[in-house]
Symmetry: C2
Subunit: 253 residues, 2 copies
């Protein structure tokens, strides 16, 4: 058996999320159907994790296995891109070690949340549009409490079924470029709705409804009801997944 990583991006607007769901097409299912058509067999695909409905990926990874490989990686990439809808793009396919796993081998993930100040004619599906200018300095201050190892129970959906909610955040910061605000967060793992609820809470701080100093108190409460609402899914983009280079057999990466 040979194992391969697919590096891909997708615009999540038309999908029920990454994971196969009863309510509408998922990115995973769309990808599995395209692989099955090209390779003429069932090809289960395992993603780096789940993304919610309407959430995007600028760079994500999934793995699959093949007994026999009927074409080279570039040809398969080309055929997949031709067959897949316009909102899923395959960047490349890389052979990996047989025990490499798109989810469990990942050392870190990075998300970006985009907020456009004012109406944008172009960003309906890919950024939150905010009419009132928030206090970016207060949001920056609040973000400084996020890095480190914490139990993120206050920022995790009650629906999440996970053994624990501890995550180690290595980066959490806001940047402004013209009328675009970007929150970038990198961690070893994320729990369900974590980035959206952190962003929603910081937006309440930016609107003056809470103070930056409330952030550590909310974190310590370990209670989802203490944090703010989830920010809308359309602003959220999975922007990177980091793997140890030793898992890649192909010369690239």
């Amino acid at each position: 058996m040979k194992r391969f990583f697919i590096e891909l991006s997708y615009k999540g607007t038309a999908y029920s999320g990454w994971q196969v769901q009863p309510n509408g097409p998922s990115v995973q299912q769309t990808l599995e159907e395209a692989l099955a058509l090209i390779l003429r067999r069932e090809v289960p695909v395992t993603g780096q994790g789940r993304t919610d409905a309407g959430v995007h990926a600028l760079k994500s990874f999934a793995h699959f296995e093949l007994e026999e490989v009927p074409m080279d990686n570039k040809t398969l990439t080309y055929k997949l891109n031709r067959l897949l809808p316009q909102d899923i793009a395959i960047h490349r396919i890389l052979e990996v070690q047989p025990d490499a796993h798109a989810r469990f081998s990942a050392e870190a993930r990075e998300y970006r949340y985009f907020i456009h100040l004012g109406k944008s004619a172009f960003l309906k599906d890919t950024a939150l549009q905010l009419y009132r200018i928030p206090d970016l300095e207060a949001m920056q201050k609040a973000a400084q409490y996020i890095p480190g190892e914490h139990d993120f129970s206050s920022f995790c959906s009650a629906r999440a079924e996970v053994a624990h909610k501890r995550c180690t955040v290595s980066q959490a910061e806001w940047r402004q470029d013209g009328r675009m605000l970007t929150f970038t967060i990198r961690a070893n793992r994320f729990v369900m709705n974590m980035v959206r609820s952190l962003t929603g809470t910081m937006l309440e701080i930016g609107a003056g409804k809470r103070r930056p100093e409330d952030m550590p108190l909310i974190l310590a409460a370990l209670d989802r009801t203490q944090a703010g609402e989830n920010a809308a899914p359309e602003g959220l983009h999975l922007s990177d997944v980091i793997y140890p280079s030793s898992i890649f057999i192909s010369p690239e990466k």
Copy 2:
């Protein structure tokens, strides 16, 4: 009578172009209908020029006149943005001299044509996606023949009804940023399909079907059949319109 400039952007995908057309909604008509609803009278709007169906504007201008002004410019901007669809955004409204004209007062216009190298999950409507990497150096060489005053008959639709096709181009260049190629062109005026046919011709040069040195020969031929096909409308964005600052009464701009 007071005269106002509207600075706006629009995603042209859903429109038959700027100008009121029989075949589908235009940006102009959509804007006039919103102004009429808010101001409770007919408000004809004059744009900086036309854009084709599917072509976008990152920054454009239009003017209108009012006998009485029932609200300030910020309030009108806010109300327009609330009423207009998501793909038209009003940046601001500025009072101008009574003889200022969105089309005739313009000293220069700038267009950008975006080309993404490879498939993009996000840019279906706003960039041309090119699977074969073109020879950018050859396209740069070809672009160097464009600046100056020329008769652009070879790059103008035969349908155009204009007194003459002379334009003075002050800038024409390609840039690459990652996988995005951008052609930027600035001129005192543009004739119909000029940027799309220039881009289409340079793409043929980039694909090795013509040489950069063919560019001055095509220009000199004054014959539309000598140039290449129009590049697809979705890659084209009107990016700026330049007016003398003396026309603006408002303190801004």
